[in-house]
């Protein structure tokens, strides 16, 4: 059994930058516990000495010639922005005043 608490889920939601209502938090706690119990099955697999696999292709670095190629114009790049100002993305404050 997973030992996830309500505070754990609230903390994870904060890390994931998702505001949750109290009702959502309750529901999420129940559902995540069930899912975690199920996926914990991976811990029973015979994985001793097995190399982790992060990707299906055995890739090494892929490079290309350092040549200019067309990209988006600033108007195109900003076309979906919630707010733009002086050809830049306009964002809420990052730091607090105090």
């Amino acid at each position: 059994m997973s030992s996830l608490s309500r505070d754990d889920v609230a903390h994870l939601a904060m890390l994931a930058r998702i505001e949750l209502t109290d009702a959502e938090l309750d529901r999420m706690l129940g559902e995540l516990s069930v899912i975690l119990d199920a996926v914990a099955l991976v811990q029973q697999a015979p994985t001793e000495g097995v190399e982790p696999m992060s990707h299906p292709l055995p890739l090494v670095n892929v490079t290309r010639p350092d040549e200019v190629r067309p990209g988006l114009t600033s108007a195109q790049a900003l076309s979906g922005a919630p707010e733009a100002d002086q050809q830049r993305f306009s964002v809420p404050r990052i730091l607090s005043d105090d």
Binding site: R17, I18, L32, P46, T47, P52, S54, P56, G80
Partner: protein
């Protein structure tokens, strides 16, 4: 042969266009009329580009009138899943957070469709960010299965499967991260291929899980699927995980339909218990037909497949939690302000936006992934899942030493009712039990119809898997099986689907 153009195969459309028996505008208009008549009840499309698609069709007709060299598929219309960026057309991924977003560029596969002269009808519905097996997680409401409008068309690509099964497009683009092309094909009586990982460019796809995602072709016949595969496949310098090799000879393989001497491996772990009786029965019959066609059958053992679902539901959420961090309310998409906060910080705005912009399943998977990657749990969950992934790839390696292709039912059941599994995430996840191993290993897979389950009269799917980069084998086997089945049925399976009520026509139910 029917005169209703929308019921033709894409191959016949292409042929007729080339002979100038029909025009691209005529063909496109027939599909727009069909969309107007039935999409109110099926809900395959999130956006129909009536003006744009007719303009593209007219351009093909004009080029043909000038005797220009045209691609074999020029003028054959197509529907594109809403996870694929299309310049000037809304791309929402079935999510509120991207409501109204118009990409400033095309995905590479869209560039290829346009270069081939294939008019784009519109964007198809999907589970939000491709998370789901039913389209019920779309923020814009579910698509319906044309075989029974009370049932799901599969997911996440249920828009692309239902669009084909209701004859609203002859071809569609899907993406498959854990089965999102193959399972929808299975439950709607259509065909779909997940190519080898890296076989079709991922540039311009909104990423769910980057090491698993693969775009691919969806159609009503194996040959049509191959024709589309050949258009969209191939190396793309803009996708660093793209395979630097020519597209496998999929069209030639589909035309050959030759399985003589081929070794077909039946995966022991992907049948029997947990599989609906009618699904299993049609699967067994299909294997027997392949033997009649000259193949031999061996049973293969893939003991680590029992851990595949668990590994997948750790790897996918982990990658998704990272990929979806881009939805931060700063550069595109929704921005929502937290209530009752003066001068909120960027962090507070991001959290408030994701609260209203994401649906329940997306939140669930992001938080699950955040947990699996968090310090103290990483080794036990994500790290362990990556080792299981290796074991599954090794099971495939061993299996392909004794078999040229592997086969299984595509999904354990036929289409379930809308609402039936919505409140039980684990039950929903089980739909992908047979399709997930291919994504973990990066190998290609196809689903094609194997018949109707006796108990409910709904379509069942047959899955074929091949070694990486041997996609052509899927088409040789699929085409051979399709030929045998269609001759037994006396026509394609979709001819048995109920007639949909059309707007403007009086229909007695």
């Amino acid at each position: 042969m029917t005169n209703d153009l929308t019921r033709w195969s894409a191959a016949r459309m292409a042929d007729s266009l080339a002979r100038r028996e029909i025009s691209a505008v005529e063909l496109t208009q027939a599909h727009l009329d069909r969309i107007a008549a039935v999409d109110g009840s099926v809900h395959s499309y999130l956006h129909v580009d009536e003006t744009g698609v007719l303009a593209q069709a007219r351009a093909v007709d004009d080029a043909r009138a000038r005797n220009e060299d045209l691609h074999v598929m020029a003028g054959v219309p197509i529907a594109v899943k809403d996870v694929v960026a299309t310049e000037g057309l809304p791309t929402t991924c079935g999510s509120r957070i991207l409501s109204g977003w118009i990409p400033p560029y095309d995905a590479t596969l869209v560039t290829k469709l346009k270069a081939a002269g294939m008019p784009i009808l519109g964007k198809t519905n999907m589970d939000e960010f491709a998370m789901g097996s039913s389209t019920e997680h779309s923020a814009y409401g579910p698509s319906r299965n044309p075989w029974d409008l009370e049932r799901i068309p599969g997911g996440s690509g249920g828009g692309s499967s239902s669009v084909l099964a209701s004859f609203q497009a002859p071809l569609a683009i899907g993406t498959d991260t854990g089965g999102s092309i193959r399972q929808p094909a299975s439950v709607t009586g259509t065909v779909g291929t997940k190519p080898t990982y890296g076989g079709v460019s991922r540039y311009g796809l909104v990423a769910l899980a980057s090491s698993l995602d693969q775009a691919g072709p969806c159609a009503r016949t194996v040959l049509d699927t191959a024709l589309l595969h050949a258009v969209i496949g191939g190396y793309d310098p803009r996708d660093s995980t793209s395979i630097h090799a020519p597209v496998p000879e999929v069209v030639r393989a589909a035309q050959s339909a030759d399985v003589s001497g081929m070794r077909i491996g039946v995966v022991k772990q992907l049948s029997g218990e947990g599989y609906q009786a009618g699904v299993q029965a049609r699967f067994n019959e299909a294997v027997a037909l392949l033997v009649d066609a000259g193949a031999t059958v061996v049973e293969v053992d893939c003991p680590n497949f029992q851990y595949a679902l668990a590994a997948y539901y750790l790897i996918l959420p982990s990658e998704a939690s990272s990929n979806l961090a881009r939805f931060d309310a700063m550069r595109y998409g929704l921005r929502a302000l937290p209530e009752g906060v003066d001068d909120p910080s960027a962090e507070q705005v991001m959290a408030a936006t994701r609260e209203v912009g994401f649906g329940a399943e997306v939140k669930r998977r992001i938080i699950l992934g955040t947990y699996a990657l968090s310090s103290g749990y990483y080794d036990a969950y994500y790290g362990q899942a990556q080792k299981v992934r290796r074991l599954i790839a090794q099971d495939f390696d061993r299996a392909f030493e004794v078999a040229d292709v592997l086969v299984s039912p595509t999904a354990p059941t036929t289409a379930f009712k809308i609402g039936e599994k919505l409140d039980d995430p684990l039950a929903m996840y089980l739909n992908d039990v047979a399709t997930i191993p291919a994504n973990l290993a990066g190998i290609p897979g196809m689903s094609l119809p194997s018949g109707l389950a006796t108990e409910d009269g709904l379509p069942t799917g047959f899955q074929i898997l091949a070694p990486a980069t041997k996609d052509e084998r899927l088409y040789a086997v699929g085409s051979a099986l399709e030929r045998e089945l269609v001759s037994r049925w006396g026509g394609h399976l979709l001819e048995k689907a109920p007639t949909l009520a059309t707007v403007g026509a009086e229909v007695a139910r």
